[in-house]
C-alpha cells in the first residue's frame, strides 16, 4: 500500500506506527485465547476421567464376576466369605428412597412454585426465596443427623415397631432437601409464561387457581419437567442421609419401613473400611458407581426427551 506519510496529519501517526507492536498484541491475544480454551477443555477432561476410571475398574470387576450374576443375583454380600454380587438390593434401596423423596418433593415443590409465582406478593417472594435457598444450602450430613435423630424418633411415635434405621425417614428428609430445587426451577418456568396467556384465562372468568392449573402449569411443563428431573437425579445421588439414617445392610425389599442400603451408601461403607486397592471388593464400588451414573444418565435423557416434547413456543 502506498502510504504517503507526508500527507498524514501529525496526530494520526500513533495509529500507523502502531502496526509493528500489533503483531506482539495479536500473539498475546492468541495465547490468552488458548489458555481460556484449555480451561474450558478441563471440563471435558473431568468427564473423560470419570468415564475412564469407572469403566476401567468395572471392566476389571466384570472380568471376574459375570454380568448376568451382577444383574440377576438377589444378594449383595461382596465383603462376606460367601460373596454374592447381585446389584438388585442396592438398586431397590435407591429406588425406594428416591420414590419416597419424590412423593414429598414433587407435590410440595410444585405447590410452592405455583403459590410463589401466581399468588404471593413481591415481599413474600423476596423473603421466602432466600429462606428456601437456605434449605438447600444445609449440608447433607446435617440432614442425615436430622433424619436419624429427629425424624426417625418422631415416626416411631406413629409406628412403634419402626426400626432405628429405615428408608422412610431417609426418603422423607431427602424429599425436604430437594423441595427448593424443584420449587425454584418450576417457579422460574412458570414466571416465564407470558402474561397475555394468563389474561386470556382471566378474561374468560377463570379464577386464579384455574388459571394456574389449566393455563400456566401446562404451558410451563417443559421447565417443570426439568425441575423434576433435577430433583430425581439429586435424590438418586444423595449419599449421606441414606448412609446415616437408612442403615447399610443391603436388603432386597420395597418396603420403606425397613432398613436397606442404597448404591451410594454401599460405596460409603466400603470406603470407610480398609479394602485393599485392586481387590474385587475395591472394584465393586466402581461397578456400583457406574450403575449409579448410568441410572442418573437414564433419567436425564428421559427428562430431556420429555422437556423437548412439552416445549412451548410463546
Amino acid at each position: 500500500m502506498g502510504v504517503n506519510v507526508a500527507d498524514m496529519p501529525v496526530e494520526k501517526k500513533d495509529a500507523l506506527s502502531g502496526v509493528s507492536p500489533r503483531l506482539r498484541f495479536r500473539l498475546k491475544e492468541r495465547a490468552i485465547e488458548s489458555l481460556l480454551q484449555l480451561a474450558a477443555l478441563t471440563s471435558v477432561a473431568i468427564t473423560l476421567g470419570i468415564v475412564g476410571i469407572l469403566s476401567y475398574e468395572s471392566f476389571q470387576f466384570f472380568s471376574q464376576i459375570s454380568i448376568i450374576d451382577f444383574l440377576t443375583d438377589r444378594q449383595w454380600t461382596p465383603l462376606f466369605a460367601d460373596a454374592h454380587y447381585g446389584i438388585l438390593p442396592l438398586v431397590t434401596g435407591t429406588l425406594v428412597t428416591t420414590i419416597v423423596a419424590l412423593l414429598v418433593a414433587i407435590p410440595m415443590g410444585s405447590l410452592i412454585a405455583i403459590y410463589l409465582s401466581e399468588y404471593a406478593s413481591r415481599s413474600v417472594r423476596e423473603f421466602v426465596k432466600p429462606a428456601l435457598e437456605l434449605l438447600s444450602a444445609v449440608p447433607t450430613v446435617v440432614y442425615g443427623y436430622f433424619a436419624l435423630l429427629f425424624v426417625t424418633p418422631a415416626l416411631q411415635q406413629l409406628w412403634p415397631g419402626l426400626p432405628g434405621f429405615n428408608m422412610l425417614s431417609a426418603g422423607l428428609v431427602i424429599g425436604m432437601m430437594i423441595v427448593p430445587y424443584v420449587s425454584s426451577v418450576s417457579e422460574d418456568a412458570m414466571r416465564a409464561v407470558p402474561t397475555h396467556l394468563r389474561e386470556g384465562a382471566f378474561a374468560l372468568g377463570a379464577t386464579r387457581m384455574q388459571t394456574a392449573l389449566r393455563v400456566v402449569f401446562p404451558s410451563a411443563l417443559s421447565g417443570i419437567t426439568a425441575a423434576y428431573v433435577l430433583g430425581v437425579s439429586r435424590a438418586i445421588g444423595e449419599t449421606m442421609v441414606v448412609a446415616i439414617a437408612a442403615g447399610m445392610q443391603p436388603t432386597l425389599t420395597l418396603n420403606p419401613l425397613e432398613p436397606a442400603a442404597t448404591m451410594t451408601a454401599y460405596i460409603v461403607q466400603v470406603s470407610l473400611g480398609d479394602v485393599p486397592h485392586g481387590s474385587v471388593a475395591y472394584q465393586t464400588i466402581f461397578a456400583t458407581g457406574l450403575m449409579l451414573l448410568l441410572l442418573t444418565l437414564l433419567f436425564n435423557i428421559a427428562g430431556h426427551v420429555l422437556k423437548k416434547r412439552y416445549r412451548q413456543v410463546y
Binding site: L36, A40, I53, L54, V138, Y145, L149
Partner: protein, 302 residues
C-alpha cells in the same frame, strides 16, 4: 342466589382453599428448616465451648473437639478455590466471549450441563482411582481440594456465564468501537461489570463444597486426626511451605458424620455441636453472597 352466583362462589372458595394450601405447604417447608436448626441447637448448643473448638478428636466424648476438622475445612477450601475459580472463570469467559458456534463448543456445553448432574460420590470414585492411585497424590489435602474443585467446577462455570451474560452487548460494542481487542474488552469491561454475579456464584459453589462429605469419604478422609497439618510457612527461604498439601486430612462434615454414626449418645451431642458450626459456616457464606449480589446490583444498573 342464582345458580351461576352459587357456581362462582364455589369456585372462589376453592380458589381461596388452594391459596391457603400453597401457603401451608410453604410454611411447612420453612418450618422444617426451623425445626432442624432448633433440634441442632437443643442438642448441641451446650457443647459449644473454647475447649470444643481447640481440641483434637478423642475417645472420650467430653474431651473431643474439632480443631483438626475446621483447620482441615479451611485448607481444603483453599485448594478447591485455587483449582475451581481460575478454571471455571476461564472456561466461562471462553464459552461466552470466544468460542465459535460449532460442534466442539456445543460438546463442551452439553458436557458441563451433564457434569452438573453427576452425583457427588461419583467424583469421589474418580478421584480415588485417578488422583489417589494413578497420580499417587495419596489421601491428602491436595487430593481432597482437587476433588471438590472438580465437583464445583460446573457450578462456577454456569454461575460465571450467567453473570457475563448480564453485561449488555452494547457495552462490549462501545469498547470494540474504540479499538479494544477481545482480551482488553474482557479484562476492562466484561469481568469487572460481572464481578458481583461471579463472586456470588463462587461463594455459593464453595459453600456447597464446605458441606460435601461423600466424595471425601470415598477419597479416604480420616476421621480421627489428632494432629494439625504442617504449617504453610517455614523459617527459612522461601518461607512458604507446601508440605501440608500432602498431609492426611479431615473436614468438618466428616468429623460430624463420624460422631453421628457412633452409638453413644454423648457423641451425638458432639455431632450436633459440629453441625451447628458447619451450618453457621454455610449460612455465613450464603449471606455474604446475598450481600455482594445486592451491593453490585446497586452499583451497576443497566
Amino acid at each position: 342466589m342464582t345458580p351461576i352466583q352459587q357456581k362462582i362462589a364455589r369456585r372462589k372458595a376453592l380458589d381461596r382453599f388452594f391459596a391457603f394450601e400453597g401457603l401451608m405447604v410453604m410454611t411447612a417447608a420453612l418450618l422444617v428448616l426451623l425445626v432442624l436448626v432448633g433440634q441442632l441447637m437443643f442438642d448441641g448448643l451446650s457443647r459449644l465451648s473454647w475447649q470444643f473448638l481447640t481440641s483434637f478428636p478423642s475417645r472420650f466424648p467430653a474431651q473431643a473437639g474439632i480443631v483438626s476438622a475446621w483447620v482441615g475445612t479451611i485448607l481444603v477450601m483453599l485448594v478447591t478455590a485455587m483449582a475451581a475459580i481460575p478454571l471455571g472463570v476461564g472456561a466461562a469467559i471462553y464459552l461466552e466471549e470466544y468460542a465459535p458456534k460449532n460442534w466442539a463448543t456445543e460438546l463442551i456445553e452439553i458436557n458441563i450441563a451433564n457434569l452438573a448432574g453427576v452425583p457427588s460420590i461419583v467424583y469421589g470414585l474418580m478421584a480415588l482411582g485417578l488422583l489417589v492411585y494413578q497420580f499417587r497424590l495419596g489421601q491428602s489435602f491436595l487430593t481432597a481440594g482437587l476433588t471438590l474443585g472438580m465437583l464445583i467446577l460446573p457450578m462456577v462455570i454456569i454461575a460465571t456465564r450467567e453473570a457475563i451474560l448480564a453485561v449488555p452487548p452494547y457495552v462490549r460494542e462501545a469498547a470494540y468501537a474504540l479499538g479494544a481487542t477481545k482480551w482488553q474488552t474482557v479484562r476492562d469491561h466484561v469481568v469487572p461489570y460481572s464481578m458481583g454475579g461471579m463472586l456470588t456464584g463462587m461463594i455459593l459453589a464453595l459453600s456447597r463444597a464446605v458441606g460435601e462429605t461423600a466424595p471425601l469419604i470415598t477419597v479416604g478422609a480420616l476421621s480421627f486426626i489428632a494432629f494439625l497439618p504442617h504449617p504453610p510457612w517455614q523459617d527459612n527461604f522461601p518461607y512458604v511451605s507446601f508440605q501440608w498439601l500432602f498431609d492426611p486430612f479431615t473436614v468438618m462434615p466428616i468429623q460430624m458424620f463420624n460422631w453421628v454414626s457412633r452409638p453413644q449418645e454423648e457423641f451425638h451431642v458432639n455431632a450436633a455441636a459440629a453441625g451447628l458450626i458447619l451450618l453457621a459456616m454455610t449460612v455465613v457464606m450464603n449471606a455474604v453472597a446475598i450481600v455482594i449480589r445486592a451491593r453490585f446490583r446497586k452499583r451497576i444498573h443497566w
